[in-house]
Amino acid sequence: MNIESAGREISRRQFLKSAALGAGGLIIAIHLPACSTKPGPESSKPFEPNAFLRIASDDTITFYCDKSEMGQGVYTSLTTLIAEELGTDAGRIAIEFAPPGDAYINKLLGGQVTGGSTSVRDSWVKLRVAGAQAREMLIAAAAKEWEVDPRTLRVENGMVISEDNARKLSFGALAAAAAQLTPPADVKLKETSQFTQVGKPRIRLDTPSKVNGTAGFGIDVRLPGMLYGALAQSPVLGGTVASFDASKAKAMPGVRDVVQTSSGVVVLADSWWQARQARDALAIEWTPGARASLNDAMISRGLQEASRRAGIVALQAGDAEAALKSSKKVLTAAYELPLLAHATLEPQNCTADVRADAADIHVPTQVQGFALQAAAKASGLPPEKIRIHTTFLGGGFGRRLDVDFMPAAIEASRQVGKPVKVVWTREDDMTHDYYRPAAYNVCSGAFDAEGGLTAWKHHLTAPSITSRWIPGLVKEGTVDPFSVEAASNYPYDVPNVLVDWVQHEVGVDVGYWRSVSHALNCFSGESFMDELAVSRREDPVAFRLALLGKQPRYRAVLERAAHEAGYSTPAAGHHLGVAVMEGYGTYMAQIAEISLEDGKVRVHRVVCAVDCGQVINPSIATAQVESSVIFGLTAALWGEINVFGGKVQQTNFNSYRLMRMNEVPRIDTYIVDSTAEPGGMGEPAVALVAPAVTNAVFKATGKRVRSLPLARHKLA
């Protein structure tokens, strides 16, 4: 089974349910074969109350972490959730990444997926229940042993303790007995006030290994007898190998073999450097394919032309078209956004050990289920014979929701009968990404005679990532929910609202890029809210607040951000711009403080007020804001991928600029106290930075920036 067939399967069952995830969600059901990587046997039977926990008689407690750690902190936050209810400190738990398995399916996405800022939201109840289940069984085992009422017992620091404190047994000592018991059907979870770990400061559990070089990333995997592979892929997007001559490459030092795979030609050598050098000596004839003439102008023109069509309705209230027609004061503006690369600092890679009867695949992936399917297809082995080992991810940002970097290693290993590690060069990575979609969004607004905003129209035109990711999943005539984020949840109190979406494929394979369509639609929507305010000569914050009377969570973060940023009293020569958004169940407001230096924007400070509901780990939540602001600001200032002759023009960090230490603004995060259900934190803050900055640029210069990146605009 491959992803394509999975897609058809899903489409048939119509698992698409928009609005299942707040701002619009998607349920993807992927049926997976049973997990094949059960832990090995042990002398004394360990206690495995569920798929997430294993307690051995030596007091080793293992948590099978079902989400991938790519910097967002699940290694710590999810362990905290299970530890809170289990009754031991998260720091005492050993963590292993879970294999593919039905028990690990993310209920918000329907597959074993780390993405969509769902990790904490999906785990919030699930992992606490898993911990509580184990705790109750350990208590029951102790109660039986001591012949007392289990209700008199409690847990603390990995021990079950009797009411009079006279008797104590460690979880390990109780493991064998607990393993004989049936897991309870219902468990009682702690009240918020009883939390001792959730919401409290805790140093990240993965840091020790990330400061001494021992953290195992995919690129670090070393297997006995392993060959290193460098992959030659078509320079033109979508091109294929017509023929190749490997004689020169094969004669080079260390080269063991050259094999053709479905991804291109792989040179295998004793070291990666040798493989990479020899790869450049390959003589390959490429069949460039249909995209050989593709360029930026075509992409841009195509989007603009498609935008003339009516879209599929994503949100409708009243009659916006009629209100726009009848109003004497109508504003319209078009916004354009470029393709972007993920640029994870760890280039794509995969290590495969394909044997005649089984395979081990080591891969930094966000999608264990898809990884298993890809491995089965590439190895020819049934899924139950394949073990997927998830490593640490050197950045994900959505790039590793795709598995395109896996087949080359697996097919090569299958062909040569040895373990193979294929590592992409930075240039391979930059020119063979699944790019953040380009988009063309048109906003319109109408005022009545008294100056009240009576109509809002947000007309979105962009490719559908989901349709590319799982063909057939988004049904014809329906909205890809990952295309209308930060638009279909329009929060402002306006009587006539229309948000619609035109799907237009631009000829470049598009992918989920941190914050996905929030980054497209928040830019156009929050820029245009500013344009509307300015047209009324109203302050942008006051204008928004007046329209957020029914939205207390939006109001609260906006007021907090304005207060903390000193919005009403900017420093001389400094200008403040604002943006507001809800995404992933998290409410945010950002205020960017800028000045112009020699016609260039200097961002001094970004204030972000956040209501993400219950916080699991304040330091990690704050880190995600800092991270996201820099990610979004990097894109706003400089980010663009250009295509010419079907080839991506950016190749490395000298042409695709990332923010550096000396360019980083001060970022101040204010988290509003809340006991609401947790919201996602890995992505939302990415999307607000661009409009906050360009709204500030307008204040500074009177110039409205309606396309990104800012580097393209002359502001002096």
Binding site: E69, M70, G71, G73, I203, R204, D206, T207, P208, S209, K210, V211, N212, G213, T214, A215, F217, I219, D220, R222, Y228, P253, S271, W272, W273, Q274, A343, T344, L345, E346, P347, F392, L393, G394, G395, G396, F397, V423, R426, S619, I620, A623, E626, S627, S628, V629, I630, F631, T634, N652, F653, N654, L658, M659, R660, M661, N662, V664, R666, I667
Partner: protein
């Protein structure tokens, strides 16, 4: 056969003299803590010390090392943890962690040279190290913290 001194240990390596030090460390010696990010000295993920000075190992041919001593992230701490590593842990600096070996090697070299660096010193010393997760604010705070701990001055972190 080339002779190298890596983390205080003499090593004989049988590689093409033009091979960048990075790949000798990673593939020949198995020291995978030093990372590949760009191959062009643009990102700093491959930063190691050569006689205490930070260099980009991805563009340094192994033949250019000579008798100079190579120190990698694996050999940075002389006892338990280097003060920079301690500050990194205390302030939750790493996210994905991929760039952090390089960041830490650059920071340690800065502190060896400039025990109490200013923000501007940090900008100069650290701007060659990219972090896609954007951990810069905490890196800056952690360098200040490590400096203050090491020199015994009062904690005066600018952030974090």
């Amino acid at each position: 056969m080339l002779k190298l001194s890596v983390n205080g240990k003499d090593q004989d390596v049988d590689v093409d003299p033009q091979t960048p030090l990075l790949w000798v460390l990673r593939d020949t010696l198995g020291l995978t803590g030093t990372k590949y990010g760009c191959g062009m000295a643009l990102c700093g993920a491959c930063t190691v010390h050569l006689d205490g000075e930070p260099i980009r190992s991805c563009v340094t041919p192994v033949s250019a090392i000579g008798t100079r001593k190579v120190t990698t992230i694996e050999g940075l701490a002389t006892d338990d943890l280097h003060p920079v590593q301690k500050a990194w842990i205390a302030l939750d600096v790493p996210q994905c962690g991929y760039c952090q070996s390089g960041q830490i090697m650059s920071a340690a070299a800065l502190l060896a040279r400039t025990p109490t660096p200013t923000d501007q010193d940090i900008d100069v010393a650290m701007s060659g190290n990219l972090c896609r997760c954007g951990t810069y604010q905490r890196i800056r705070a952690a360098i200040h913290q490590a400096a203050h701990r090491a020199t015994g001055t009062a904690a005066n972190d600018t952030s974090g």
